[in-house]
Symmetry: C2
Amino acid sequence: MQRNYICSEPSTSDRRPIVSRRDQLCDAGLDVLAAKGLRGLTHRAVDAAAGLPAGACSNVFRTRAALLEGLAERVFERLTPDLAELEAEAAAEPTRDQWVHLMQQLVRRVRAQPHLQLALLELRIESTRRPELVDPLTAVVRAAFDADVAFHERAGLAGGPEEIVLLHLAIGGLITDVLTLPDALPLDDVDGIIERLVDRLVFVGSAEQVGS
Amino acid sequence: MQRNYICSEPSTSDRRPIVSRRDQLCDAGLDVLAAKGLRGLTHRAVDAAAGLPAGACSNVFRTRAALLEGLAERVFERLTPDLAELEAEAAAEPTRDQWVHLMQQLVRRVRAQPHLQLALLELRIESTRRPELVDPLTAVVRAAFDADVAFHERAGLAGGPEEIVLLHLAIGGLITDVLTLPDALPLDDVDGIIERLVDRLVFVGSAEQVGS
DNA sequence: TTGCGAGCACTACACTCGTAGTGGTGGAGG
DNA sequence: CCTCCACCACTACGAGTGTAGTGCTCGCAA
């Protein structure tokens, strides 16, 4: 049952489109998860969301635990490539402005399509009660963190992983607040908030204030 | 149905201990919520957790929506007094060390008794789908924020609410990470992380580094 | 003391869910 | 061409859930 978290895909379409079927169901499941929550996430609801006949989800994921595990792995598959290409995109010459822009775009994308992040958040909470979810979800978060550390190192900036942790915590909190209770804190100028977070958490100790 | 979010308690035990009954059920409900998630939160489960006969919860909260709303309000009731007394405790002479200590104790308490925060997080996500939960939950978060702003102002520190927002986001992210995926990011030295967050997010612009 | 009504324990019922089983089908291997 | 088997659509069933109804009980007003 252990799946390889480092770019799986057993070979190039090893057999029948069973993978495609699995992914189709998982994507539908993630939509259901964001739309109706863990309570609304049932085999039949996933069938309906995927436009498949009743029982399809139940055939692939025999138990509910298996379905949740599948969703957790799918979150990793869908979120990690994003991070890789985002990093590659900014690989040219990392600057402070690049940092800010990167984070702003990240948050902007999350706000435009909140369902994946909401599903991830929900699965994170569920991992408190289902240990089998911890590994795939940890992989998601760690992949994002590692990408940022690499970016930081390539930029030749002062500080190390300890500084990036701070930024990650803050951006994570920002995303949670923006998605779940946008009116609780004064979050009108999200871009400005991100800018200040990057400056204060990442660019302290290195050259004073680069860029605008 | 609108409840007063500013220290309710209609009078001094206005009648029968109906309030007590309600609170008893809500507290049990919050425990269930943290232990089994929104999916495991059922009328009968709350009955069992409260040690009351079957139907007790169903009698007070006729529908599931009413139960969730009751839980959201109870979270506010239980979390806000904490903040008030915490603030009062540190009211003497606010310093940078007080800030750090305050946040460290907050996180320490959350880690020691995670069920309330987990329940709050779960309700926050649910508020995405149930608008009636937004108001009471927003009140919780805003109360904590306001307390911190007051603390900051009393300290006569530079900066204003904009700085506190940053700290709130970061601490919120820290709590989420510590509770849900403690091994994803390197969070061994939580106290040190908090210290750095306070220094960089709140004490920038004011007197350079006060205290140890 | 008597009557009343609020809150309570208990129950009923229709509905959905998780899970597993069954038969059919279509394509690959011999 | 035949055989076999993985995959799929469909169904069955017990358990649990949301919700509402029915009397009982006990403290207070008259």
